[in-house]
């Protein structure tokens, strides 16, 4: 049972979290990209278990669907075709979702007390009851994972099926994976598995095979085995050396007490945005924004490369193009 003594970190909370439970084993999910067939069973099992149903979208000319993470799609497959100089074609398929960082940037950035927690087993979970929908978790996340729901203005992401794990089971995506590409166990065991897989890939000629467990975020509880670990970016933009923005650290370490006021949050948003993206292009009082649906708040829907789709688009609407003909 996931009682409060298992919570080792809690967003925007000054009191020291409980630390005495020293014998909780850290868990990890290992995704061996070299075995992934992109079947999306994990996407479906995730939605099914978590009682989510994303919108029925459109085909944008790729296999990716939904084309981006949403508040209802906590994991998506990202497909990229990579042709090497010698004409060898690889279809690299990566399951994207929360990495459950040991040092979670989302938690560090979150201004809402208890909206983001970290359990002793390493799972980083969102407690929606406390979420204020400010979107800082997205800014704080070096992997660009959380998404705000247009329905309730709350942030959502993979929970690593904390409910299943608490009950002694594996996450839904792990269980369903047809090819053993997703595995689950203690972090220690998963690292050992990963090393074995890397050895196997190297023996098959993938000299750069390696484990993705980035140190910049203290390691992760979701790890990848990559055949080209030297170039994670090849896998639909997996960051090579992810780090939490230094500003998030600053907020947590120094300015936290001051920031515990609603006005401070506003300022903080501006600072982060300025530091990461430069001055806003649109005027602050752009009347158009008044009418924009509330769910476009929180993050930049256009930040992904072409083909990606923002949360705000009404993907449920029939595209007239197909219907008219």
């Amino acid at each position: 049972m996931n009682n409060s003594q298992n919570i080792i970190a809690r967003s925007a909370t000054t009191t020291t979290p409980p630390q005495v439970r020293s014998h909780v084993e850290e868990v990890a999910k290992l995704i061996d990209v070299s075995k992934c067939i992109g079947c999306k069973a994990c996407q479906v099992a995730c939605m099914e278990w978590n009682d989510l149903r994303d919108d029925v979208g459109e085909c944008h000319g790729t296999y990716d669907n939904p084309t981006d993470l949403t508040a209802n799609s906590w994991t998506v497959m990202r497909f990229s075709e990579h042709e090497s100089d010698d004409g060898n074609l690889e279809w690299l398929i990566r399951k994207d979702g929360c990495m459950h960082c040991a040092e979670p940037g989302c938690l560090a950035a979150c201004p809402a007390p208890g909206a983001i927690v970290q359990y002793a087993n390493g799972i980083v979970d969102f407690d929606s009851e406390h979420c204020i929908g400010c979107g800082y978790c997205i800014t704080g996340c070096p992997f660009d994972i959380p998404r705000i729901s247009p329905k309730d203005q709350k942030s959502y992401k993979c929970t690593l099926c904390s409910d299943r794990v608490n009950a002694g089971m594996e996450p839904a995506c792990v269980k369903t994976c047809p090819t053993n590409c997703i595995e689950f166990g203690t972090k220690e065991d998963m690292l050992a598995r990963a090393e074995k897989r890397v050895g196997d890939l190297q023996a098959r000629g993938f000299r750069d095979a390696g484990i993705y467990d980035p140190a910049g975020v203290g390691g992760t509880h979701v790890m990848y085995v990559l055949h080209h670990a030297n170039d994670p970016n090849r896998y639909s933009g997996l960051p090579k050396d992810p780090r939490i923005s230094p500003l998030v650290g600053a907020w947590k370490g120094v300015t936290k007490p001051i920031m515990s006021a609603i006005i401070g949050i506003t300022a903080f948003a501006g600072v982060i945005h300025y530091m990461t993206k430069g001055p806003k292009e649109e005027p602050e009082d752009d009347p158009g924004h008044d009418d924009a649906p509330a769910h476009t708040l929180g993050y930049d829907a256009t930040r992904r490369d072409a083909g990606a789709r923002g949360e705000g688009e009404d993907s449920a609407g029939d595209r007239p193009k197909g219907e008219e003909r």
Binding site: M47, G61, N65
Partner: protein
Amino acid sequence: MTNHWVDIRNANLIIVMGGNAAEAHPVGFRWVTEAIEHNNAELITIDPRFTRTSAVAQDRAFIRTGTDIAFLGGLISYLIETDQIQREYVLHYTDAALIVRDGYGFEDGLFSGYDEATRSYDKQSWMYEMGDDGFVRRDESLEDPRCVYQLLRAHYARYTPETVSSITGIPVETIQRIWRKIAATAVPDRTMTFCYALGWTQHSIGSQIVRVAAMVQLLLGNMGMPGGGVNALRGHSNIQGLTDLGLLSQLLPGYLTLANAKEQDYAAYIDKRTKQPTVEGQVSYWKNYEKFHVSLMKSWFGSAATERNQWCFDWLPKLERPLYDVLDTFERMSKGELNGYFCQGFNPLASFPDRAKITRALSSLKYLVVMDPLNTETSEFWKHYGEYNDVDSSAIDTEVFRLPTCCFAEDEGSIVNSARWLQWHWAAAPPPGDARPDIRIMAELFLRLKRLYQEEGGVFPEPILNLTWDYDIADEPRPSELAREYNGRALEDLVDDEGNITRRAGEQLSGFGELTADGRTAAGCWIFTGCWTEDGNQMARRDNSDPYGTGNTLGWAWAWPANRRILYNRASADVQGRPWGANKAFIWWDSEQGQWTGADVPDFPTTSPPSQGQMPFIMQPEGVGHLFAGQSMVDGPFPEHYEPFESPVPQNLLHPGNSRARANPAARIFDDDREALGKPEDFPHAATTYRLTEHFHFWTKHARLNAVVQPEQFVEIGEALAEEIGVAAGDWVKVSSNRGFIRAVAVVTKRLRPMQIGDRQVHHVGIPLHWGFTGVAKKGYLVNALTPFVGDANTQTPEYKSFTVRVEKA
């Protein structure tokens, strides 16, 4: 499957060809990934496309659709000419040494005996030569020019790497590299498995593609071996079961066959099917045909079936045409020759070729009955859905009944997976509204008809009035009652040679070895006998232990025949009964016990010692595997490459001068449909249809979860073609054939590349098939608007995998 899903992990090399296992059978494919990781195996895909299976393959070749026989025929020649065959296996376990009659020949693309008027072969010359002793002549040296081995060698000598390359579009070096890897499994301790699906069967040469693969496996000694075999990865959850139960126009349960109109005499009907050994001492198990047939008749007609009335032989319908397959039926329907039609869980408007013809045909019916859990397109073929179903309801006079049925979750019973496992399942919930199980609907319909015949009389009521129907609740037989019936029981006490009672009247039979031809046993499907015995329901067993570590779980469910998991497994041992390789030990002769033993139920008489010389292929009269299909195929004893009926290539490069041998000369095509074929100049792109992993046919577009992950219809084209027609990823394209068109989003990919075929460049177009005008996914076009009404010569399976289209920007 000759083998089974878990057994794939025992393979050293896995060839996925004519299928896309990772997408269509992802969980079965797990055993491919297991073999790669734990058996150091290699996976090779040979496909027109770079699929999601290719994504995790170690090697791959891109083959022009419909040219698989060229690739595999060339492989046969390579294996023979480089002497990379499993010689001992080939000599003893195949017909390589058997002599073929003098009249057999092959000239310019046609086998001996061809009759152009009927588009069929007289197979008289395709026979082994019989010796004076009444058995087939053989030549152990394999040097007689009339022995199968030499005929085979000569037949495929034409398939040089260069010729194969020019037909298939695969570069010569790739062809040779993959042939080398396959040839390396000719040794006793390495096996290769073929995993195929409809990418092999949905061609006008489909059956022969499967056969050429089987021939390769015989030459390599990979049949009957763990990690070997030719494995059909079947498409539907119980398509194996419905095939086994004979729900096909010419079959009866258990692969028994209906008589044709000429077979008026019962004894001759039985005699023709009772295969006696043609090589001395062989098992030839079909010699028991009459036991199976009479037991079926007793099961259906009970005491009404007697020796005197020849077990009601005349009550069974006889075939007047060669086949009443679906192409034939829809051809007749389109000409107004049918009045009624039933679609039980089948969506022909979406599933049969040339959708316009299907609409015409259904519109000519007086009544159509659809039994389905879902709102299918077929049930609404009369309803206007814009361009997706452009019909005028008022002009269609068909009366359509739609009956809601249970789905799996509300249903109890067994289904047979691709590995021939009969697995029992239980209902979890009642069906929605008034939906009913199929069993109940069939029972009620039958009982109503029977009552009408009792009350009114009518034409030939005998089989209706006498059909056994001793179920506790007449209009709702329980699945357990039906399962016990097809398993079979003793009608009278059975006794052995000494007169001891071996089975009491009324008891369930434990195996088909107990069946008799004298009416003392009843069994509705002899190959299933053993599934529900006096020990209860064997299909519900759940012991998953694997005592030999071979992945063979004999205590899980029940497999036909006789709970065997690998067919022909006697061939996993050498002539002396020893495993070919220690790492491939599966079944062996235990001389102390005096019986065959091992990880599986032997597919062989258990106590027949190796010294007796009985050979592993016990269903064949010769006891051996057939490299030469004298009688089983209608379009040639050796597979030959023919072009698809619609091909971007104007000639068969093997027979450029003979237009009769361009496409399969014995394949099914009707005159009107020939007229509807497109010409390469109008429709230059090679098209192929297929499934995607996110969807199951036309079912899952009704399931929100699946609609989310693959919402909208698309077609795949390569970058070069996209550039040629000015299309970018995400644009809409129109795809047309000579029969119709669809519109879809373009997925532009590096995974489809142009191929050089002779003097021309061929582009492939990939057409996933899952969308339609009902369901929660985005509406789409039924892709069978495009496909030709052409069928394989042996099975009449339509040629969905190779036809031609034109793609243009919409």
